[in-house]
Subunit: 221 residues, 2 copies
């Protein structure tokens, strides 16, 4: 039985899933660490994601050591990981991740990158293999579904890739973690959404003392 | 002991608290009911607020008759009403409401309208009196605090008035009810917010099977 196609991202209360873009090479460049734009990006991103850092699952997955918090937030990240049989992502997210992920990239499943770049599959230690799909989002999704078997397919990001899948009516479910932060500017999760074609129904709502995780089923109107 | 200054609004998942403005006289004009812009406004507004309509408190407050649902959503609207000793609103919200509220306007407290228009206090049956404040948001708030006594002051709306109080650092608390709807366009709740000056902390999260009510304490950074 096929799994669901979903995304799960953290969102500021005013609707942003990431700060305004800075060149990702700068974010990971030692020479650029004092660049005000880089520092602002890191500061905003860290605040948005701050709920993740203390969690046990996060510490384990990035091999930061023993311990870490358990509870609603930890259950949520763990379940999101465990339900995912394959991921799909856009090229920019891959390019930034290529610089930042550890060698054993944190997916531990096949990952399908939607891109025009031709590249052979890139296998990493720990079970992640990146596949580069040149013939569009539906092809990437079909390959991801096959790889995922009866588990779910996660559209990992970025915002533009998520919006493409949403607009194409290819999502079954979406989760947003509402982080207690206002961004003012940045990358809007639901930018350019064709709202008249999408119907949502809240199917889950789980809160810790920091954040709230909202899950919606997605249907066409 | 002084109460809190707060707002509580329903927000689409993509951050809108109302559809794009149409002239409010059109919304309440029988001649304009077939106007596509008016129909679209009513359709979007009704969908955003649909969680309220079945509630017992709503039916009682608008004298729609016996019955209505109880539970998390009903508790939330009832508590929001009961905590409020006085409200503050902008002129456009007042102008629209003047056409749409029943004779015994649904506030049942003093309401302070921030406006340049000079007008004597307008007392309605049922305990609502509208006061027209010409010397700005701080004056309106001071008068509202005095009227509210130890109860809270609600900044009722619209979005622009809420944003003024948020930017001035005059809010203690904010609640957003996340409605399962995407708008695509409209009046953004957090438009033009100066995010760097506002710090939020989630203090309450309550979910029904329809919507989730998130409450944050508001502090200056």
């Amino acid at each position: 039985m096929a799994g669901k196609v979903f995304f799960s991202v953290t969102m500021s209360l005013d609707g942003f899933m990431a700060p305004e873009e800075v060149p990702y090479e700068d974010v990971f460049s030692p020479a650029k660490q004092d660049d005000p734009a880089v520092r602002r990006w890191m500061s905003k991103w860290s605040e948005l994601q701050s709920w993740v850092f203390p969690l046990r699952w996060f510490r384990e997955n990035l091999k930061l050591g023993e311990g870490g918090e358990e509870g609603v937030d930890n259950d949520f990240v763990r379940q999101t990981f465990e339900r995912t049989g394959a991921s799909v992502m856009g090229k920019r997210m891959f390019d930034a991740g290529e610089l930042s992920w550890p060698e054993d990239a944190p997916f531990h499943t096949p990952v399908f990158v939607v891109t025009h770049t031709k590249r052979e599959p890139w296998q990493r230690p720990g079970g992640t293999t990146f596949h580069f799909v040149n013939d569009g989002i539906e092809s990437a999704l079909a390959q991801a579904r096959k790889a995922a078997g009866d588990r779910d397919v996660r559209i990992a990001g970025g915002a533009e890739t998520i919006q493409q899948y949403l607009d194409a009516g290819l999502l079954d479910e979406l989760s947003v973690t509402l982080s207690p932060v206002l961004f003012g500017s940045g990358i809007r999760l639901f930018d350019r959404v064709d709202a008249e074609r999408v119907a949502l129904k809240q199917i889950r709502s789980a809160a810790s003392n920091r954040v709230t995780h909202l899950t919606y089923s997605v249907n066409k109107r």
